[in-house]
């Protein structure tokens, strides 16, 4: 599904955001990308839909290079950003979800049908007429997810989805992610705190200093996390089974 080859990114000011990243992700995988602040997680995600262009290397989606067709890349990869408020572009919940499909220039009826379906699947069907800024933190994230669903994206990338969320908010977003995974979507989640994802992520990719430092099943990676400035969950430290935040 996603194929990243020798990807490097240097920012205008000379900061090396990514160095020689190689990563392949198959369709339907649920991948946690962990790393300390500044390790390059956000930069990596932004290459998936061409928000950033590689300094070196290449990103391919289903065999075709992202930079060759940005419109296609942005339809395939949906993104849920860290700051929920600055993702809102519509004046009502309904309009906000319609923004993506309208940019695909779909006919009005198709747009409306997609928005209705998307709102229903994130449980915001009865809030379509509200102002998005009035939603709770968890609801805003779900609104962003609905915006992605309405574009029928196959890959959904969440950037630090648990930041600024209260306990119920984390539960809502986590449940939404798992529901998406069950529909066959490919899911990438970045976080600096692996605990909330632990029992669910099959694969963990560890980043530090713009490089991928470890990649594999959660059980193999966990004991080494602290080497990369990522907190090891209490349960793992105590030798217990990780518990889901959903229960």
């Amino acid at each position: 599904m996603i194929e990243i080859r020798r990807l490097s990114h240097r920012f205008g000011d000379g900061t090396q955001g990514l160095i020689n990243v190689d990563l392949r992700i198959a369709a339907g995988e649920f991948v946690a990308i962990v790393g300390a602040n500044g390790s390059g997680k956000t930069t990596l995600l932004r290459h998936l839909n061409g928000l950033l262009q590689p300094t070196e290397g290449e990103v391919r989606l289903k065999g075709e290079s992202v930079s060759r067709n940005l419109k296609r890349a942005r339809q395939i990869v949906g993104m849920v950003f860290q700051d929920a408020d600055s993702q809102i572009v519509g004046e009502t919940v309904f309009d906000d979800v319609a923004f993506g499909p309208e940019n695909l220039c779909l006919p009005t009826e198709t747009v409306q049908a997609r928005v209705t379906t998307a709102l229903r699947s994130v449980g915001l069907a009865d809030k379509g007429h509200l102002r998005p800024h009035l939603l709770s933190g968890g609801e805003k994230r779900r609104l962003a997810v609905a915006g992605v669903l309405a574009m029928q994206s196959e890959v959904i990338a969440f950037d630090e989805p648990f930041s600024n969320l209260d306990y119920p908010g984390v539960g809502q977003v986590l449940a939404q992610m798992l529901a998406l995974r069950d529909t066959g979507a490919t899911i990438l989640v970045t976080t600096h705190d692996i605990e909330k994802l632990l029992p669910h992520a099959e694969r963990v990719v560890v980043m530090a200093g713009g490089r991928i430092r470890a990649d594999g099943p959660a059980t193999d990676i966990l004991p080494h996390l602290e080497t990369y400035a990522v907190r090891v969950p209490c349960a793992t430290r105590l030798g217990l089974e990780p518990q889901s935040w959903l229960t």
Binding site: F81, Q87, V89, E91, F99, N103, C105, V111, R131, M151
Partner: protein, 251 residues
Amino acid sequence: MADLSVFTYTPGLSGLHEGDARFKLLTLLLLTVTISTGRLWSLFAVNALLVTGLFLIRVPLPTLLKEMRYFGAFLLLVWLVRALGTPGRIVVSFGPLALTLEGAGQGGLICWQMVTVLMAGLLFTRTTRMVELRAATAWMLKPIPFLNTHQAALMLGLLVRFIPLILTQAKEIRQAQQARGLENRRSPFLRLTAIAFPLLRATLIKSDRIATAMAARGYTGRSTPFNFVAQTRDWMLLGLATLLASSHLWG
């Protein structure tokens, strides 16, 4: 800085909300023309129409008055300048300054016109979504040659999107500065720069985030065309506004 939340789109199901934005925009223009002629009875008529509208969409009066307090102060100033600066029959005088009857009347009329235009604008912005406004503007600019209506409408839409953002940001920064005792500083220059620079920075950062989020959702400026549906009531509203605007021709 004033918080202008009453002037933002507020979802609702009134006839004005569901009306065709092209007709609403034309009506707004015609009403502005009518108001600017300054004829008393047409001003009354426009006011009657607008007050009915405000009642229909249930504008929260206390919030409106609270947010308009600076505007009220401004109106008072406008009125005073007129009332004191127009020659005529003197009502009271303060040294060299004299408040005249004619001046008070003219000032009153100007203030009334301004309030009326504001009310019309309020009705329009509260009931019209940005997408509709954008589409209506593009429709209206279409006959103008050599103008990329798409781009122009896009600019307008972005402007509307960013104004509340800047206002909210300004409020947050001012409160943060107040919490750190900025009010105790005397220098107005210092007070201004203490807010202006963080505001500029925060606005740029936030604008950048919004632009990125829009790009991520495939925004190129081109999107599904907006379908307007005009109903009888839209034509009726426009007819009424045309009648009022042309009243000086026949009355």
